[in-house]
């Protein structure tokens, strides 16, 4: 990319929208828009993204449509010092993809052991029960990052994409009142 254009592009990105790749070209979108447009994932496998969406939706209704998997996937693809993930301030060791992959695998393993199906294939009641046990560290035979920590990190991600945006504030009836507004209502 031409240097000047690249600087403009980065400036746009830092103001709000995230840089996704569509048809080989970078484009600024919100995570919600990226999901709606079916933007391909950069790092997450389809199954991983599916588990993450199901987990996010269980934690915070609306997280799936808000693009939680696209948000996390895009953030895993940038250098750790540029990441906007809560994992960054919770002392998760970079690269953050290692944590998310281990967390997703642990949840699917626990789901298989308990229900014989992956987490995304469970019904909403089963998903809720599993998350509640994970939250309390009460899933027998758990292997992976501590369940309560996974709950905390991914719940924060889901809260971010649903309530941390301008739309999220509007849904709660709170004025956003930015000093410097995030572009595209982030």
């Amino acid at each position: 990319m031409h240097e000047m254009k690249r600087r403009d592009f980065i400036r746009g990105a830092t103001l709000g929208a995230l840089a996704f790749t569509v048809g080989g070209a970078p484009i600024l979108l919100t995570a919600r828009e990226a999901r709606a447009q079916g933007v391909p994932f950069r790092l997450l496998k389809a199954g991983e993204a599916e588990t993450l969406e199901a987990l996010g939706e269980t934690l915070v209704p609306g997280a799936r449509a808000a693009g939680i998997s696209h948000f996390i996937d895009q953030q895993l693809s940038v250098p750790p010092e540029e990441a906007l993930l809560e994992a960054r301030i919770l002392n998760v060791k970079p690269p953050y993809a290692n944590f998310y992959r281990a967390a997703i695998a642990a949840i699917d393993r626990a789901s298989q052991a308990r229900e014989g199906r992956r987490f995304a294939q469970l019904n909403t009641l089963e998903q809720r029960e599993l998350v509640d046990l994970m939250r309390q560290g009460k899933l027998d035979g758990w292997q992976g990052p501590p369940g309560p920590f996974i709950y905390f990190v991914t719940r924060s991600d889901a809260v971010d994409v649903v309530y941390g945006t301008v739309e999220g504030y509007e849904s709660l009836g709170i004025p956003y009142m930015p000093h410097i507004a995030p572009e595209r209502r982030w």
Partner: protein, 526 residues
């Protein structure tokens, strides 16, 4: 490697303490270079968003965090020019006289080599320099008189005012919080507009972050700030009697050396000891300024007992400042709580946002799904919080040391080992109990303690000050006992932590140290 001209002073870190040194020394005509590990932020980078606010938190090599109560390094630290003071809440309580002589007065912890009266003039100077709003007269029920603050107290909101009845009921006196923010226009900077985004960086200039105070002054006086410069070692002359400059890696990951007459380490409480330990050489086999073996030792943090409440009215919790509207030292005595030891500093009135660690959602971590959404709706109208910050006594086992793993520059990672003692748990619990009484007396519809793991807030110690090289790393000015042209600045030089937010004291001690260095320049530089 580039060949850099020798400068008078090289400062490692462009946060609160490094900025003060840069401003003071440059104004006396010294040639100063500041090396900053992260990016060079501008006010226009400080977007009002919890997502984007994370960019200004730690982004360098990770610390290995161990112990029963691992330090919350990522949340507390800074990344880039301005350091942690770019996202601090700008609460400006002072330490009190009882913080300086804990050992001799109570037989616990450590003594400082100085008293409150040695620091007090610098609190007053800093208040004038950066702009502090508050009511100094009202604070005289707890501390010796000093100069009035340059601005009146900040505006208050219902999310703070609503607690006052509860505090009064339990006999706790509240005063307007002293904050490093503008209640009125000050020194060309505007008054605060109370939008509650302080914690992700204030782009208006109403909050006294380094960009608009000391670092701004320093740059105006010609200081060169080199972002993306990661310091790895401080070098000494052959016989180890003086430091000669700082080795660092630049943005291209190339090793550089900046020679200087004086080195100031101002890279925060954990990174300073990491650099000192990594600077070991033939003359200083345990690391620089480490004859006592205390480099990295006596790390302390604060903890907080947050009491949440929902009131049956709109408390406008999105309004105000992230810091406090009201404060109290009425539980600051070291034995305020029966059977426990350590000061408590209480604050009330804080703007809340929806996400991030301090947001609505984390007020009830047990909730998820539809229950969380229902809570968020109720929280949006009536949620508010008070906080009681507690003091941890210094423990030599709480430490920073070098780990076996290395970062991209071959420098060993730092390992921070931290565990609280039983006194902390006692103070923490006592403050929760009192918090619920306050909430009930204030008329809260619901109230609960924000329990979980005991939090670790702020970071102090690791290069403590003292009277001599046998039991400390630096003197009260931050000057090494062993290397006269090496200074250490920041919260790392606190021997004890008190319970007050540390940055006002960081500014004050840095100003005291920098003025000393400037005043004794010839004697120090030789």
């Amino acid at each position: 490697m580039a060949k850099f001209e020798k400068v008078d002073v090289v400062i490692v870190g462009a946060g609160a303490s490094g900025s003060v040194y840069a401003a003071v020394l440059s104004k006396t005509g010294k040639k100063v270079v500041v090396l900053e590990q992260g990016p060079d932020w501008k006010l226009s980078d400080l977007i009002s968003s919890d997502f984007w606010g994370r960019r200004i938190k730690h982004g360098g090599a990770p610390f290995v965090l161990e112990g029963r109560n691992p330090v919350s390094y990522g949340y507390q630290s800074g990344w880039g020019v301005g350091g942690a003071a770019l996202h601090y809440f700008a609460n400006f309580p002072r330490l009190l006289p009882n913080d300086f002589k804990v050992k001799s007065e109570a037989g616990r912890g450590l003594d400082w080599p100085i008293d409150y009266k040695d620091v007090a003039p610098y609190y007053d100077k800093v208040a004038r320099d950066v702009g502090v709003s508050g009511d100094a007269k009202a604070e005289e029920i707890w501390r010796p008189a000093g100069a009035p603050y340059p601005m009146p107290p900040m505006k208050t909101f219902r999310n703070g005012d609503i607690w006052l009845k509860g505090f009064e009921a339990v006999g706790i006196r509240m005063a307007p919080a002293a904050v490093g923010m503008n209640s009125t226009a000050y020194k060309g900077r505007p008054a605060c507009i109370y939008d509650g985004w302080c914690h992700v960086g204030c782009p208006t200039g109403a909050l006294s972050n380094p960009l608009v105070t000391y670092l701004g002054d320093a740059r105006a006086a010609g200081v060169e700030v080199r972002p993306w410069s990661t310091a790895t070692r401080v070098l000494t002359n052959g016989n180890g009697t003086r430091v000669t400059g700082v080795e660092y890696y630049d943005q291209k990951k190339e090793k550089q050396f900046q020679p200087a007459s004086v080195v100031v380490l101002a890279a925060w409480a954990a990174q300073n000891p990491r650099i000192l330990l990594n600077s070991a050489n033939g003359a200083h086999r345990k690391g620089l300024s480490n004859r006592s073996g205390l480099v990295g030792k006596y790390m302390t943090t604060h903890f907080a007992s947050g009491t949440w409440a929902i009131f049956d009215e709109d408390v406008q919790n999105h309004m105000g400042t992230t810091g406090a509207q009201y404060m109290s030292y009425d539980r600051y005595g070291k034995t305020s709580h029966k059977g426990a030891f350590g000061s408590t500093f209480i604050v009330a009135g804080s703007a809340l946002k929806t996400s991030d660690l301090g947001g609505f959602a984390n007020a009830r971590l047990d909730l998820f799904g539809a229950e969380l959404h229902a809570f968020m709706k109720r929280a949006a109208r009536g949620l508010t919080r008070i906080n009681a910050f507690g003091e941890e006594m210094p423990n030599v086992e709480n430490r920073v040391e070098l780990a076996a793993d290395k970062d991209e520059f071959g420098m060993p990672l730092g390992r921070i080992v931290h565990s609280y003692d039983e006194d902390v748990a006692r103070v923490w619990n006592a403050n929760f109990e009192e918090g619920l009484k306050i909430a009930n007396a204030a008329g809260a519809k619901e109230s609960w303690s924000g329990r979980g793991n005991i939090p670790t807030i702020h970071l102090m110690g690791g290069t403590i000050m003292g009277k001599g090289g046998g039991d400390s790393v630096v003197n009260s000015y931050g000057q090494s006992h062993e290397l006269p042209n090496l200074f250490v600045a920041g919260p790392g030089i606190f021997p004890t932590s008190g319970a007050s937010n540390p940055t006002y004291t960081i500014f004050a001690l840095s100003l005291r140290g920098a003025e000393r260095l400037a005043g004794k320049w010839k004697a120090i530089v030789g």
